[in-house]
């Protein structure tokens, strides 16, 4: 089976390079794409309104969210993954940003939307969607990462593709009302020891407890992403944005915020989203997503098709503690490291894009990237993580990822010493 997969991928790489892994492609005969008149240079294309709301051109049909069918019993309570192997820059288009549902993506109209703020507040209030748009708002870019991103890799290399190992991740520009503004409107008791209980309108309700300090800091009650309405699968019309903290807290279809004196200890913060350690105890309230970087190309789904010579190594880095200040890249499995170029330095708790431009001469490589954030945190290796936590944590796996690149440019997910 393994051999088959390998041969198939190899076949692809070889075909694309004409079987010749050479950087010098010499033209033997004139290229008809240049010398012959092409239809598109002569006839006309689609008129405006051919697609009133555009989708990517059909040649990009493979750049889509994918799920891993054997992971869950049913797609209604499941997850799929962002095709980060095929994206660049930092903003994730909504249409291919990963989905995670506990009871399916519901269709909730703006006119049916209600937000209740109650509990330890002077004025329990009900807000409509229209009301929410009347509060002062802000716009920020933030990454959203599921706590279980890379969770299938705790026990070793398992999925052969960065989409599947790291694709429970997206990064969007959100517009919304700071949570603190809404709490002030309800006259909430904002004492430090208080909590919020946050609930969605879907059948799972996905209730989570959020400490007051975070709520007052940077959380947004968001209604736009990347300039347009949220997508149904991301909580249309209103979701909570909890910058830098695990995606499960970003409650979708937000319907209720209750100020409470202690954590509710709901199912999503006890049975799930707690991190079991090797000794049998579990960490709870592990909200922050620690710094993490991964090379998105080359990667198993994005092998090197172009042969030897100039090669762009590209990837993403992010930290729930703030900004990424540096990313290092290793070509030899962590023996030596070089500082990568930050092609786009993201802001606080947002994705950073890094590039490392090399001349590849066909040597086998063990590619790694490690992130460093503004707190000086250096992304650990998988063995460092396992030494502290064991292999049964499921969540918060931010260990350094290794891609093995063979001399043909085929890439594979591996674990190394």
């Amino acid at each position: 089976m393994a051999g088959l997969t390998r041969r198939r991928m190899l076949g692809g790489a070889a075909a694309a390079t004409g079987g010749l892994l050479s950087s010098k492609a010499e033209a033997r005969s004139p290229d008809p794409l240049i010398t012959e008149l092409q239809d598109w240079a002569s006839q006309t294309g689609d008129g405006v309104d051919a697609t009133p709301y555009g989708l990517p051109i059909e040649y990009e049909r493979d750049v889509i969210r994918r799920n891993v069918p054997w992971l869950t019993a049913d797609t209604i309570s499941s997850v799929n993954f962002t095709p980060i192997h095929a994206l660049d820059g930092t903003i994730t288009p909504q249409g291919c940003a990963f989905e995670r549902h506990h009871s399916g993506a519901i269709a909730l109209r703006k006119q049916d939307y209600r937000l209740l703020i109650n509990g330890l507040v002077e004025n329990p209030i009900v807000l409509t969607y229209g009301d929410i748009e009347r509060f002062p708002r802000e716009t920020h870019v933030y990454f959203c990462e599921c706590a279980a991103n890379t969770g299938m890799e705790w026990a070793g290399a398992q999925l052969n593709g960065v989409q599947f190992t790291h694709g429970m991740l997206h990064n969007m520009e959100y517009t919304g009302v700071p949570l603190r503004v809404l709490l002030a409107e309800a006259g909430a008791d904002m004492s430090d020891q208080n909590w919020l209980y946050i609930e969605g309108a879907d059948a799972s309700s996905n209730g989570r407890s959020l400490p007051m300090a975070k709520a007052l800091d940077d959380c947004l009650v968001a209604f736009k992403a990347n300039g347009e309405a949220l997508r149904k699968e991301h909580g249309y019309p209103v979701r909570l944005v909890v910058p830098g903290w695990e995606g499960n807290l970003w409650v979708k279809w937000l319907r209720r915020i209750e100020v409470v004196a202690e954590a509710v200890e709901s199912r999503e913060e006890t049975s799930k989203y707690t991190d079991l350690l090797a000794n049998g105890t579990a960490r709870k309230w592990s909200w922050v997503m620690d710094a993490k970087a991964v090379i998105t190309s080359p990667s198993p789904q994005a092998p090197i098709f172009h042969g030897y010579g100039p090669l762009v190594i590209s990837g993403l880095a992010w930290s729930g503690h703030g900004r990424i200040t540096r990313v290092d890249v290793s070509l030899d499995g962590g023996v030596s490291w070089e500082i990568a170029r930050l092609g786009y330095r993201g802001s606080d708790k947002a994705l950073t894009r890094f590039y490392h431009d090399i001349h590849w001469n066909g040597n086998e490589m063990l590619l790694q990237a490690r992130a460093i954030d503004e707190t000086g945190y250096v992304q650990p290796t998988k063995s460092q993580l396992r030494a502290v936590r064991g292999e049964n944590s499921i969540y918060h796996n931010n260990g350094v990822q290794t891609w093995y690149v063979d001399s043909q440019g085929v890439v594979e997910n591996v674990e190394i010493t």
């Binding site: 004025n123 716009t139 700071p178 603190r180 006890t270 922050v288 000086g376 650990p380 010493t417």
Partner: protein, 401 residues
């Protein structure tokens, strides 16, 4: 033409000095008439602009540096953005948006249960009742003994496995509080028809789950009165996130850059497991004849609608009974006619009478299941539109031979 708007937008964001620069650059490219327009526009925004500056207090020199670098260095552009975005005003007085919540509204939604049992409604249910309800509403996914069917969650057992290689996290072995069980079941289960159980039913199911986890005996009854007496075995199994001490302290160190390891060996390859989904191939041709399309579209639409049914019904070669019976060859099948499925009474009656599913009865049933068959166990409120119904019927027909 295209340069003018760009410079103009740029000028909007920054200071007077910059406007001078923009103006100077503009003269090199713009015709006199356009320059005139720009000057008018600048004049028009001046007042707001000065006001903005006094709030923002951005030093002029920084902005000049930014202006020179724009387009060459993203890094600097980002710094400028960071300063230019001002937090939403933090008003201390209410804005008066929204309306007071009514007590009945709060009561309807504020149903969470605290770890000490606060929030529980009055009620009572025993193990035996719970077992019957569980077998009707839950066992198809979670197993008769809450042991989990296929990939569905396991709810019982797994004691003393948390420190092992394959820990089994269940209500009994892992959950720290009983309140969570009550809270979760009443708001989110049964999957596909959440919030349809009444308080006593939830008490009974929770009692049964305690029983199937060997935490109470079979004569046990759970109520709001004895709820707080139940201590879950793993209540002390959780520590508050301690990464700051156990991890950050170790990993906030200057990283090694050279000769960091002696050697490197590959110890595991993802391809050995071979569990990755196949890559998507872009097909080359997508032609189809026109006549087919509309039928296909109805079926396709029906397939989408069927997602609503899928939590309870399966179709196809591997189809098994779930909460509801499998729906293969449903047209022409006797209503309630499968021997190995436990139907409700109304369905049993229909079966005895030998009623048969046809398009008409199916359409009427799917529109209002509980009106068409009063007393049906099918906890589904019905489909809303004729299109949905026609679609599902067409889709089910593709599984009819």
């Amino acid at each position: 033409m295209s340069r003018l708007p760009n410079l103009f937008v740029l000028a909007l964001g920054i200071t007077t000095l910059l406007l001078g620069v923009a103006y100077g650059v503009a003269t090199r490219y713009q015709m006199a008439a356009e320059r005139q327009v720009m000057l008018q526009q600048v004049a028009a925004v001046r007042p707001q602009f000065d006001e903005a500056k006094s709030i923002d207090e951005v030093p002029t020199t920084t902005n000049l540096a930014d202006a020179e670098d724009i387009g060459s260095e993203n890094r600097i552009a980002t710094d400028r953005d960071a300063k230019a975005s001002v937090p939403a005003p933090n008003s201390l007085r209410r804005l008066g948006i929204g309306r007071p919540a009514l007590p009945a509204e709060i009561a309807a939604w504020d149903v969470d249960i605290m770890p000490d049992g606060h929030g529980l409604p009055e009620g009572r249910g025993d193990v035996e009742t719970g077992e019957a309800i569980f077998s009707d509403y839950c066992a198809s996914c979670h197993g008769d003994f809450a042991e989990g069917v296929d990939n569905w969650p396991v709810l019982a057992g797994g004691f003393d496995t948390l420190a092992e290689d394959n820990p089994i996290k269940t209500i009994g072995s892992y959950w720290p509080h009983l309140s969570t069980v009550w809270d979760y079941i009443q708001r989110s289960m049964p999957f596909g028809s959440a919030q349809t159980l009444d308080e006593d039913q939830v008490y009974a199911i929770v009692a049964y789950l305690l029983y199937s986890n060997d935490l109470v005996d079979e004569s046990f009854a759970l109520s709001h009165e004895n709820f707080a007496d139940i201590l879950m075995p793993n209540v002390a199994g959780f520590v508050v996130d301690d990464r700051a001490e156990t991890e950050y302290a170790l990993w906030r160190k200057k990283p090694c850059m050279q000769n960091c390891k002696e050697s490197v060996n590959i110890t595991m390859r993802a391809s050995d497991l071979d569990v990755t989904p196949e890559p998507i191939r872009l097909e080359t041709s997508t032609t189809h004849s026109d006549g087919e399309v509309s039928d296909k579209d109805i079926v396709k639409n029906g397939q989408k609608v069927f997602k609503k049914c899928q939590t309870c019904h399966q179709v196809g070669a591997q189809a098994k009974h779930r909460v509801g019976p499998h729906l293969n060859k449903i047209f022409g099948r006797v209503i309630g006619g499968l021997e190995d499925f436990r139907y409700s009474q109304v369905f049993d009656v229909a079966a005895k009478e030998g009623q048969i599913w046809d398009e008409e009865s199916m359409a009427a049933f799917l529109l209002e299941p509980r009106t068409y068959f009063q007393g049906t166990k099918m906890a589904f409120s019905g489909l809303r539109t004729a299109d949905e119904i026609a679609g599902v019927i067409a889709y089910l027909k593709t599984y009819s031979d």
